[in-house]
């Protein structure tokens, strides 16, 4: 029972990182109808920036600066490589983002080099001891709190600001929004910048307690099953999907020793297995909008 509770709490922690990543994917998807495969590279870029900035600025200022810089990088990429492709098939744009990801990730990796780089966070592997002997790692608490704050901020942004309203309008119906004077171009730019910043924060938290390495981008790929699970165009779906995937993954990790026939490290592929199972029942994910086809 203690093991189960601990693994669920760990899962909520890692799940909140997935939720942040998933939110980035969904924001871009809602604005442009494209899955941006470039998110892993931005996530890595954010984490690498934090490792360089944490020394002079301190962890929290470095996190904010890295998020802003990565947002700027995403903005530039959108302007250069994605904006010229408006009106082309979404598949083409998705493959372009795949190309961007490959190129940007090489640059990220060059900055990681052969050293072990840490993000310089204040938590490390320290733990809280709860009554009943349950141990919670501080970094997981920090992840959940950060994610909660960011989600609240995002929802307030979409609900109460003019830009947020414009983004919702453009996501709902691009042409109608255009006709009402919404600058759809700046909505695209805004969504890429937001997603880049979210990826940077998520990347940093994914590297807390470990080091920044090339394999960090696999964490970002885990966000793909998350958004498919929650439904590509649902922000709450991304959050719920993230937590579900995180919990399933950590619980599997805790108990996979009992099921040796699944092979070592089975927990790494559980998100994909969960995704396949859910899609067989619900082809548009748990909360996704069913596509209406008209002839």
């Amino acid at each position: 029972m203690k093991d189960l509770l601990e693994s669920v709490l760990r899962g909520i922690g890692t799940g909140s990182v997935y939720a942040l990543l998933g939110l980035g994917f969904v924001i871009i998807y809602k604005a442009t109808r494209v899955i941006s495969f470039a998110q892993p590279s931005f996530m890595l870029a954010g984490a690498v920036l934090v490792t360089y900035l944490a020394g002079p600025l301190g962890f929290f200022a470095a996190l904010v600066a890295a998020a802003a810089l990565t947002g700027g990088l995403a903005l530039g990429v959108e302007r250069l490589a994605v904006r010229p492709m408006i009106g082309r098939p979404v598949f083409t744009v998705a493959i372009i983002t795949l190309g961007i990801d490959i190129a940007v990730r090489v640059v990220d990796n060059a900055f990681i080099g052969l050293d072990v780089r840490h993000v310089g966070d204040p938590w490390g592997l320290k733990v809280f001891k709860l009554p009943g002997g349950i141990v919670v790692e501080q970094r997981h608490v920090a992840m959940v709190l950060t994610t909660a704050v960011l989600i609240a901020a995002l929802f307030a942004f979409f609900r109460y600001t003019r830009t947020g309203l414009a983004m919702r309008a453009a996501a709902y119906d691009q042409e109608a929004a255009l006709a009402q004077g919404v600058s759809v171009g700046s909505v695209f730019a805004m969504s890429w910048a937001l997603a880049g910043a979210l990826a940077a924060v998520a990347g940093t938290f994914a590297a807390v307690g470990g080091s920044v390495s090339e394999s960090l981008w696999l964490v970002a790929l885990t966000a793909l099953p998350v958004i498919i699970l929650g439904g590509l165009d649902s922000l709450p779906g991304a959050v719920i999907g993230g937590v579900v995937v995180g919990v399933v993954q950590e619980v599997t990790a805790a108990y996979q020793g009992h099921l040796p026939w699944l092979g070592g490290n089975f927990s790494v592929v559980t998100p994909y297995v969960v995704m396949l199972l859910v899609l067989l029942v619900r082809p548009y994910g748990l909360f996704g909008t069913r596509e209406v086809t008209r002839v």
């Binding site: 190129a103 092979g263 490290n265 790494v268 086809t293």
Partner: protein, 366 residues
């Protein structure tokens, strides 16, 4: 009429094997050059060209499902892996460290690898009939990860990551292709084998594209609802597309490492899938010649980038320093995809069309 090759006056012209006489000439010249290659270049280059032929075979497969039928598949590496391990297990040494049945006859293990992969493809196809567009792309990406987990863990079959196993030993009707003899060296024999297989594959792909099935697949790509309305059975044709595509992938996977003599389960990762996507997009999606050209370009790219450090001294040839040639190679994959899709979505094939049109109208711009 001879001066206007694109003016088709009958359906039979529309479905001809070669669209124009020029195209036929180009293919024939290319074929002659390819056949002369074993006697013109060194064995190491020949090995690379043989690898390019096999890669092109795999790209033709992806081209059928993604280029022709428009079903985005990031799972090609999964089907390549199935073919590679089916063939390796069938042809492997029965007394060896890994599973092997000792059937080295290529006429047995090559079709077997293709069929097993095709079966896997047809099992995946029901997902494609339920999902559309990017949902399908992500699901096929999931296949690569799940498949990767299985082959990395199943070390009796694959030898395990970092250790690997031997690829199938090819022997054709009792003739051992894996050793040099008085007439031809090993690399010459393997190159010719792979060239012949590529020709068969390309011809079959072209024939598929211009048949009833090919037209049905193109209709699904262009607008699946309209295709369904005019009577194309979507579920059936998507299954056919995945099955045929995976058959190609299985055959290509079986032969992919024959030249190298060793392979490792970690090579069937997402990057491999992305490389195949890059090949058909750079070459020109939906065309047989485009897929082959793209495959040759991507396979020869590492060889070309290895020459760059001697031209540009600030790029290092040692992997420990950066920027180095390996990083440049990876960046080039990405940049080539982006540049081609933005500026020439029809790929190398499109560049050829543009050149041709330019000279056809010369000296006028239109």
């Amino acid at each position: 009429m001879r001066k206007r090759p694109l003016l088709h006056t009958a359906y039979s012209q529309d479905f001809a094997l070669f669209g124009t006489a020029v195209q036929r000439t180009f293919v024939l010249v290319g074929l002659l050059v390819a056949l002369a290659m074993p006697f013109l270049v060194q064995d190491d280059v020949l090995q690379l060209l043989g690898l390019a032929c096999v890669t092109a075979l795999g790209a033709l497969g992806l081209n059928i499902v993604t280029g022709l039928a428009g079903q985005v598949s990031l799972g090609h590496a999964f089907f390549l892996a199935i073919g590679a391990y089916t063939a390796a297990a069938l042809a492997g040494d029965p007394d060896g460290r890994t599973i092997g049945f000792g059937v080295t006859e290529i006429l047995v293990w090559l079709p077997a690898a293709g069929l097993v992969a095709a079966l896997a493809g047809m099992l995946v196809a029901p997902l494609a009939t339920r999902l559309r567009g990017l949902y399908l792309a992500v699901v096929t990406l999931g296949l690569v990860f799940i498949g990767g987990h299985v082959i990395n863990g199943w070390s009796e079959l694959t030898g395990g990551p970092g250790v690997g196993r031997q690829p199938p030993a090819p022997s054709l009707l009792g003739l051992d292709l894996n050793t040099s003899d008085a007439f031809l060296t090993r690399d010459q024999k393997l190159y010719l084998l792979m060239l012949v297989l590529l020709l068969i594959g390309a011809l079959a792909a072209r024939n598929l594209a211009r048949s009833r099935v090919g037209r049905a697949l193109t209709a699904i790509r262009d607008r699946d609802i309209a295709a369904g309305v005019i009577g194309v059975n979507l579920a059936r044709y998507k299954t056919v597309a995945f099955g045929v595509s995976s058959f190609y992938a299985g055959c290509a996977g079986a032969l992919l490492y024959v030249g190298a003599g060793y392979f490792d389960p970690t090579s069937f990762d997402l990057l491999l899938s992305v490389q195949y996507i890059a090949m058909i997009l750079i070459g020109g999606a939906g065309t047989v010649s485009g897929a082959i050209l793209g495959a040759f370009l991507i396979t020869l790219l590492p060889r070309l980038t290895r020459e760059i450090p001697s031209l540009l001294p600030f790029i290092s040839s040692s992997p420990a320093e950066s920027p180095n040639a390996y990083q440049l190679e990876t960046v080039l994959y990405g940049v080539l995809i982006v540049v081609f899709l933005i500026f020439e979505p029809r790929g190398l094939f499109g560049i050829w069309i543009r050149l041709r049109n330019y000279w056809k109208a010369w000296p006028f711009s239109y």
